[in-house]
């Protein structure tokens, strides 16, 4: 390898000053940017008080909430200070008014066995002793001495408090034992009573039983056919509120459709006046463009809050909010599309002596309509998502219902049901819009190809 002399190095340096003598901001710009971002993040850490928020947060709730999305639990309580041990279920238990589940067994000697996960995870108790089995270990808890006493070593899945023994059995549930009561939580995968709630006469029947009742059974409610009754019971399911959820979902879809369409209809003529090349008055252009900016900048939330106050909560307020924002957004994109058109077709139409309106119709419109439709579809798609969020501030639709279900912190299965419906709707609308836009761009493509072939 040959070494370079100082002169050679110098000559190379002189020949490529842009490489060897870069200005300061180019050399250190990226480093300064990264440093600035780092400092900003430190500031944000302090601003949001992140360490304290993290200390006070309850991350152990996350897996619990997530399991609640796809499962439900039953929580019977067994009183031990009464003559006979009997199960008490919460008032609105998913098992209906007269539960007699097969996982609760009363033995011949008066003790009760609860199969939380088969016999592998179970608890058997009478008034003086409880035997808990899980993870192939058996623990006996004495209840006779005023507080629960564990005999033998305490395994990791049991927490012994002063007056309560908690056996954690993972996803399957848990058992809490005190001297006078045993509380059980047994978890089931799936959604409880998704079709019929506990008040329905069809509750607890298998699919084939329901089908035979509908086809040939006696009328369960005099004067109503069983089919109508079943439909009504499903629609008004108290726990899942199918009817309400679906009509709220429809409201959200309607909000997005109505707002975007009306916005497009109003923005369409205005865009022609805002486009520099179509309306030669600079004053009109600028006034309209600033108007579009104004409508966009006010933000959908502010419009939603105002219209919720004006019209009351509901889809009308949401539609109006989307409409006002969309006039701005679509007006801006429409007028930009108009300013980018090829002027030749228009000149051709002008040369035939057509009047103003006809020039727009035959010289401008054919060029921009596919672009307009494509942009409107795009906005429609994005508003279908947006309508969910503004719904939560009172503008109607499924957003509000979703927010209310989340506020209680107990209805996560219902939340997940609505989320799935929203995902489905967004998916369907994405595909419709993509399909239509692809067809449109195909049209534009064909048009360009034909033009290119003709020269």
């Amino acid at each position: 390898m040959t070494t370079m002399t100082a002169d050679q190095i110098q000559s190379i340096e002189e020949r490529f000053p842009q490489v060897f003598h870069r200005p300061f901001h180019k050399r250190f710009g990226p480093l300064l940017l990264v440093g600035g971002i780092f400092l900003y993040l430190l500031y944000a850490l302090w601003f949001f008080n992140l360490p304290q928020v993290m200390r006070e947060s309850h991350w152990e709730r996350l897996p619990l909430f997530l399991t609640q999305w796809i499962s439900y639990d039953v929580q019977p309580i067994f009183r031990l200070d009464e003559p006979q041990i009997t199960a008490k279920y919460p008032r609105f238990s998913v098992l209906g008014p007269n539960p007699n589940p097969d996982w609760v067994k009363t033995n011949a000697d008066g003790s009760v066995t609860i199969l939380i996960d088969g016999t592998a995870k179970s608890i058997t108790f009478n008034k003086t002793q409880a035997t808990i089995t899980a993870n192939s270990e058996t623990v006996a808890v004495g209840l006779g001495t005023g507080k629960p006493l564990i005999s033998g070593p305490v395994p990791g899945w049991i927490t012994a408090h002063e007056d309560e023994v908690v056996a954690d059995m993972g996803f399957a549930g848990e058992a809490r034992v005190t001297v006078d009561r045993v509380r059980i939580r047994k978890r089931f995968l799936g959604w409880a009573n998704f079709v019929f709630d506990t008040r329905s006469p069809f509750f607890g029947k298998s699919a084939s039983e329901v089908a035979s009742l509908i086809v040939s059974g006696p009328e369960l409610k005099p004067g109503t056919s069983n089919l109508a009754l079943a439909g009504d019971n499903i629609w008004n399911n108290a726990q899942w509120q199918h009817g309400d959820v679906w009509s709220k979902l429809l409201q959200t879809i309607v909000m997005a459709f109505l707002g975007t369409m009306l916005g497009g209809i109003v923005a369409f003529p205005l865009a022609f006046f805002a486009a520099r090349n179509i309306t030669p008055s600079r004053l009109v252009n600028q006034v309209l463009k600033r108007f579009f900016d104004f409508m966009r900048s006010i933000d959908m939330l502010i419009w939603a809050l105002f219209f919720t106050r004006a019209f009351g909560p509901g889809p009308l307020a949401g539609s109006a909010a989307i409409f006002f924002t969309e006039v701005g957004t679509l007006g801006k994109t429409y007028s930009e599309a108009l300013e980018n058109i090829d002027d030749k077709p228009r000149e051709g139409v002008v040369s035939t002596g057509a009047n103003g309106l006809l020039v727009q119709r035959y010289g401008v419109l054919p060029e921009v309509v596919p672009v307009f439709i494509s942009q409107t579809l795009y906005q429609w798609e994005s508003n279908t998502r947006g309508a969910t969020i503004i719904g939560a501030v009172g503008a109607g639709g499924i957003g509000l219902k979703l927010w209310e279900a989340m506020r209680t912190n107990s209805n996560w299965a219902n939340v997940f049901y609505m989320v799935l419906l929203i995902l489905l709707v967004v998916f369907i609308f994405d595909n419709i819009s993509n399909f239509l836009r692809r067809r449109l761009s195909q049209t534009i493509h064909d048009y360009n190809r034909i033009q290119a072939e003709q020269g």
């Binding site: 993040l41 944000a44 601003f47 949001f48 992140l50 928020v53 006070e56 947060s57 309850h58 991350w59 709730r61 996350l62 909430f65 009509s247 429809l250 409201q251 309607v254 909000m255 459709f257 109505l258 369409m261 900016d293 900048s297 006010i298 933000d299 959908m300 939330l301 502010i302 809050l305 105002f306 106050r309 004006a310 019209f311 009351g312 909560p313 509901g314 889809p315 009308l316 539609s319 957004t329 994109t333 942009q375 795009y378 998502r385 969910t388 969020i389 503004i390 939560a392 501030v393 109607g396 957003g399 979703l402 927010w403 989340m406 506020r407 939340v415 989320v419 929203i422 995902l423 998916f427």
Partner: protein
């Protein structure tokens, strides 16, 4: 030059007829299309009106009443509300308790409440965009067809980003509000996760359009995946990445305002309260502040994007 076209007799008539048939058919289709659209608009309007708490024509005469509460008794109250200066109209109610929200920084120097709230909203937007950017960049290189380390990994990452994008933000915000307590952190997590999906999609579409010759060169000298992405991919796409990220900042400022209104802290919360209680001066002050901020953010980002990628930044759809 003479044209010698011999058409069979009646051909012109046939052509004219065919043309007329075609145009009348097209007109019929257009009419049906427009008719369907009008029908859809009419029925959805009726549905929206029916489902709403107040009805359009009942409420229309009261629209101006609703504007009347907005007009403050004293226009100066707007500035007083904005800068937390005591109002002479103070009656001890929440409507005029302007100085109460002062956040003292040093001595008698304070940041007015609304500026502090606006800052919270802006910080939520910036931090969540940063989170989105940091995760979207590596994801986008994995998800790009031409740069992916493994096709299966690509599919997984793509689906994951789709899920993040489609999942409603308020659900994530609500879930985390129950974990880290209601407030800006939950909003940051929600908007950040959504931004990962949204930016990731835009980024990998850019990545798929890069010039692959630089990558081939690096591959020839034996560079590993990380080096190829770092030295062949990133320099080509970074300006476009930055441009899309700035666009995302604009969107996130808006979303974080909305998140505020559903409990995410910041100016949205105060605005919702102020409008629902009918505090005229406070509402106008808040709207002015929000409007100005969004306007400035939009203009600044547009200026920066123009510097980064030129006019091309404005050809792409938002």
């Amino acid at each position: 030059m003479t044209l010698s076209v011999t058409a069979p007799p009646g051909a012109t008539h046939q052509m004219a007829d065919a043309w007329r048939r075609q145009t009348s058919l097209r007109r019929l289709y257009t009419a049906i299309g427009v008719g369907l659209l009008i029908l859809a608009l009419g029925s959805t309007m009726w549905f929206a009106d029916e489902a709403n708490a107040g009805h359009f024509f009942d409420r229309l005469p009261h629209l101006l009443d609703f504007l009347s509460w907005l007009v403050p008794k004293d226009w100066n109250d707007i500035w007083r509300a904005m800068f937390d200066i005591a109002s002479p109209h103070d009656t001890g109610t929440q409507e005029f308790n302007f100085p109460l929200g002062r956040a003292y920084v040093w001595g008698s120097f304070y940041i007015p409440e609304y500026f502090e709230l606006m800052l919270t909203t802006l910080n939520v937007a910036l931090v969540s965009t940063f989170i989105g950017f940091v995760f979207a960049v590596p994801f986008s290189f994995i998800a790009a067809r031409n740069l992916t380390p493994h096709p299966v990994l690509r599919l997984v990452v793509k689906r994951f980003m789709e899920l993040l994008r489609a999942f409603p933000e308020i659900v994530i915000a609500g879930l985390f509000a129950a974990i880290v307590s209601i407030g800006p952190i939950a909003a940051i997590i929600a908007i950040g996760l959504h931004s990962i999906g949204a930016l990731g999609k835009l980024f990998y579409e850019i990545n798929e359009n890069i010039d692959m010759r630089a990558e081939e060169g690096l591959r020839a000298v034996g560079a590993n995946w990380f080096e190829r992405v770092r030295f062949a991919g990133l320099p080509q796409v970074l300006p476009n990445f930055m441009s899309y990220t700035l666009l995302r900042v604009e969107i996130n400022v808006r979303i974080s305002t909305i998140m505020g209104a559903v409990g995410g802290g910041g100016i949205g919360e105060e605005l919702k309260l102020s409008i629902s209680r009918g505090f005229g001066a406070k509402t106008i002050a808040l709207v002015l502040l929000l409007f100005t901020t969004i306007f400035i953010v939009d203009q600044f980002s547009a200026w920066l994007r123009r510097k980064l990628v030129g006019e091309q930044a404005f050809a792409m759809s938002p």
